[in-house]
């Protein structure tokens, strides 16, 4: 028997077609059908967005990594409970959000005086290289987002990395209390636009 190497999954998560949730669904189906390597690819595909979703809850680096790992282990242990494989991407982000919320609450209670809760709102220690690479546009956007309240910041970051179009339906399926996410999201976006426009930002119509 040869030594098995984990196949390198496609690194890019930005390609437009098919959407990430569709690729995730296809990989999940392959894994369930016995292709164990498809799980490697699923982990490679979904770990980056999960990281950002979890960090949106203000967890420090170590806790955020724990939550991402718990999310993956929960998938392996409880995948039978997912009736619709098409929903796996939404299932993963929802699981990560629940766990991040739970861990965050626990942690805040444990040391309410820690400055930790401020950490995610500051740029993490960047190397000189990274700082140079962070373009001006991102810096201005980051400052603008930072003026919004905590709830808006969290919501915008989650929505930015959650690409399942009908996540509201999934939220309903999982009876998560985020029914008002649509209007709230619009309010947060409007606030952000107002801040950006006040600073002469004019990049809204120039997407990727």
């Amino acid at each position: 028997m040869g030594v098995m190497t984990h196949a390198d999954a496609e690194a890019s998560v930005d390609s437009v077609e098919p959407a990430r949730w569709e690729r995730a669904a296809a990989l999940f189906v392959r894994w369930r059908e016995g292709d164990s390597r498809a799980m490697d690819e699923l982990v490679r595909l979904m770990t980056p967005p999960l990281w950002h979703v979890v960090r949106a809850y203000g967890l420090d680096h170590a806790l955020a990594q724990d939550v991402v790992q718990t999310t993956w282990l929960t998938l392996v242990r409880r995948h039978e409970s997912i009736n619709d494989p098409q929903a796996v991407s939404g299932w993963l982000t929802m699981c990560a959000r629940r766990e991040a919320w739970r861990v965050g609450k626990q942690h805040r209670r444990a040391d309410a005086t820690e400055a930790e809760s401020l950490e995610p709102h500051l740029p993490v220690h960047e190397s000189a290289e990274q700082t140079a690479a962070t373009d001006d546009e991102s810096r201005r956007l980051w400052v603008a987002v930072g003026t919004l309240n905590e709830r808006c910041q969290r919501l915008l970051r989650i929505v930015a990395f959650e690409d399942r179009p009908d996540y509201a339906r999934i939220a309903e399926d999982l009876s998560m209390p985020i029914g008002s996410i649509g209007p709230t999201r619009q309010r947060c976006l409007a606030k952000l636009r107002a801040v950006l426009e006040g600073e002469g930002w004019r990049g809204d119509d120039d997407g990727e």
């Binding site: 040869g2 098995m4 799980m39 982990v43 950002h52 373009d135």
Partner: protein, 155 residues
């Protein structure tokens, strides 16, 4: 919602995505560690088998007793040192020459995870005596992840 608004929202979200990826990047090795953690958890997976090179499968009988086992496939070598604990359990100290990303000890339907430490070291502080096997994912010299398991041995 108007299509135009929708496109503008999508563009702004894309910008935000890029921004967060720049100001708060994911740790570089997170993906590999997650792949490894999931691999050792996934029981349906087939692992390359390491073979016993040195040591006996015989059990540790008492507190003064220890056992050292060496497993290898020719390139990757794992050393295990089994000792008895005060409570009548077993402690398993291990070392693997490659960087271990995830290590798991499986005993029937019970399993334990070890946190891989510096220089390939890991330890299971207290496991019951019995037949066990070790499952691990390491990063080889070329940076690829490889998964292995040992034959069953007695702790």
């Amino acid at each position: 919602m108007e299509n135009e608004d929708f496109a503008a929202d999508a563009a702004l979200f894309a910008r935000m995505r890029r921004m967060w990826e720049e100001v708060d990047p994911m740790p570089a090795d997170l993906v590999d560690r997650m792949v490894a953690a999931v691999a050792v958890e996934d029981l349906s997976r087939e692992y390359a088998l390491l073979t016993l090179v040195e040591g006996a499968m015989a059990a540790v009988r008492g507190e003064a007793d220890t056992a050292t086992l060496q497993f290898s496939d020719g390139t990757t070598t794992v050393l295990l040192h089994v000792t008895a604990t005060e409570d009548g359990g077993r402690r398993v100290d291990g070392w693997v020459e490659s960087t271990a990303l995830a290590v798991r000890l499986v005993q029937g339907d019970r399993e334990w995870s070890a946190e891989p430490g510096e220089h390939g070291r890991f330890a299971f502080d207290e496991v019951p005596p019995g037949v066990a096997r070790l499952r691990l994912v390491v990063r080889d010299g070329a940076g690829d992840l490889r998964d292995f398991q040992t034959p069953q041995f007695e702790v």
